[in-house]
């Protein structure tokens, strides 16, 4: 039997008359790298927003880890173990990189506004230091130790993407949602990012759901691919099978682009 971590069942989401998603269902297997592709405006980010709780779909259910999360608030979903990054960077711009990542530990920490200020006389200091230790491991893993004290807003684009990934990882998620982790990166940065994604999937055992436009990367690292078009699911399955599908070529890759297809394939 398949061990599914995320089950999306018949999700429909509309903004007034605009149907962003129509009856989309899919399952993500535990430990998989699951990619969502599709043309612009196909509803990919709406799908991620529905899973992470920013949008409430009008119809359908989302089960995470055998638990119905459809009506939970985003912060409650973070507690359960869903982490995410954003397409347009959403770091806390005036905080240091270290503090940004420490915010990711928020739901794992216990001290509040009364015990926190009593820093030395309460468990707050010990808690800070234990979590700092774990955060440092993530910093080490993503190779951002040289900027840990820099203000996040001053970093370069590629580094900010990495800090965002670090922040999402600090949640200790079982499932991580990546919204275009490689957008706007050069080849070298893309390779690095692909390596990080594979490593966090394999070493940390985190299931990945990813939106990505770079077909090369998608084909290389995903276990399963789903194609969305105009808010509807076209097909999902193994990368090769999806790529071979006639509708996909028509909707997303473009029929004429045979040369590109050959490159990818």
């Amino acid at each position: 039997m398949k061990d599914t971590i995320l089950t999306v069942d018949q999700i429909s989401l509309a903004f007034g008359g605009v149907k962003a998603l129509t009856d989309v269902s899919f399952e993500v297997e535990r430990g998989a790298v699951f990619s969502i592709i599709g043309p612009n405006g196909a509803g990919k980010t709406s799908m991620l927003n529905s899973i992470s709780g920013r949008y409430r779909p009008q119809k359908g259910t989302i089960h995470f880890d055998n638990q119905d999360v459809t009506h939970l608030r985003p912060n409650a979903r973070a507690d359960l173990g869903i982490g995410r990054t954003f397409q347009n960077l959403a770091l806390f711009g005036h905080m240091s990189v270290l503090d940004n990542i420490m915010v990711g530990r928020h739901h794992l920490m216990k001290n509040n506004w009364l015990t926190g200020p009593l820093y030395w006389a309460s468990p707050a200091q010990k808690e800070e230091l234990t979590h700092r230790r774990q955060v440092e491991e993530i910093i080490d893993f993503l190779d951002i130790s040289h900027v840990r004290k820099s203000i996040a807003g001053t970093l370069s684009y590629g580094l900010r993407k990495r800090v965002e990934l670090a922040r999402a990882m600090a949640l200790n998620p079982k499932l991580i949602l990546l919204d275009e982790p490689m957008a706007g990166m050069n080849l070298e940065e893309k390779e690095d990012m692909a390596r990080y994604i594979l490593d966090l999937n394999e070493e940390f055992g985190i299931t990945v759901v990813m939106i990505e436009h770079d077909m090369g990367v998608v084909m290389d690292i995903s276990h399963e691919v789903m194609v969305l078009d105009f808010g509807k699911k076209l097909i999902s399955g193994l990368p090769e099978a999806v790529m071979a599908d006639e509708h996909v070529r028509q909707a997303y890759l473009g029929l004429e682009d045979d040369e590109q297809l050959q490159e990818v394939g």
């Binding site: 992470s52 709780g53 920013r54 608030r73 985003p74 912060n75 973070a78 507690d79 995410r84 954003f86 959403a90 770091l91 806390f92 711009g93 005036h94 905080m95 503090d99 420490m102 915010v103 990711g104 928020h106 739901h107 920490m109 216990k110 001290n111 509040n112 506004w113 926190g116 200020p117 009593l118 820093y119 707050a124 200091q125 808690e127 800070e128 230091l129 700092r132 230790r133 440092e136 900027v147 004290k149 820099s150 203000i151 001053t154 970093l155 922040r167 949640l171």
Partner: protein, 357 residues
Amino acid sequence: MSSLAMRPCGDFRTSYKADNTIFETKTIRLVTCLVIALACAAPLVLDGYFLTLFIQISYLGIAALGLNILVGFTGQISLGHGAFFGFGAFASAWLNTSFNIPVVFCIPLAGFLTMGVGMMFGMPAARIKGLYLAIATLAAQFIIQDFFGRAEWFTGGAAGAMAAPVSLFGFDFDTDMSFYFIALFALVFMYIWGCNLMRSRDGRAFVAVRDHYLSAEIMGVKLNKYRLLSFGISSFYAGIGGALYGHYLGYVSSEGFTILMSIQFLAMVIIGGLGSIKGTLMGVVFMVLLPEVLEGIVGLMKYTDFGNLPMVTDGLAYIKEMAIGLVIILFLIFEPEGLAHRWGQIKNYWKCYPFAY
């Protein structure tokens, strides 16, 4: 990566504990401790006038830090801080006279009471933002002010309330000199409290809510809770500051806690630097000392030819008021990020002196 660390060469941190301090370097910590020690010895040298100024800085500074936590760190806004300050003053006096609780306990209790009231009025804060929130807190200011006027059981109505001096082990802190130490202790305590708050879990959550509330929520921060809590903590500080004010003067009248006071608090926080703890104190010192310094300068004008004109001698008070306004406007134009920012730039400059980079 323009932020220059103040750490000198060779100051390596080998543990996370050593890297997680309030003060960036040992020198800064030493200087701060030295300043506090000097402040303890100050009453031996300074006369009552300066002590009064310091006490004023102290209670205003505590309340202003609360406002900075709300406005600077959490990104909310409040135009009712003066009213909360007043509520703290009345609450402490009321607790003392009605329940015979010793003043030392009344002050923190008044803080918690004000916190409750602040959270009540902060309820809309979880739902509205920006200018709309400003108007909602403006309503709080007027409601509380009206309450001061009507609730005679609480405030003594138009007659005001008497507040007993702080007394500890039979000793009354009823002179400027003795109250100075209470004020100094409270100031240091509340500022350390604030520093520790901002470097622990909930303080980070506040800044996260300010910087990007959508992603803060996705990171597991309960938005409504933290917006409300921020109002609570800010009122808590206002309450403590107000209580100190009441017990220092010995008498609380309901007339002082107007919208002007709220705006003065906002001015302190903006001039000092939003989102900076040391900036708050700088802003308060600036706002308290500015009238005094200008008074001195205007006084000197008498000795010039210019000062003999009747227009000047008659209008000294007005010139002072206008000068305060002018200085604040110039300040906002040339240093919109506050004194704390300017302080950082001065430090950066001297760090690399005589080289530019």
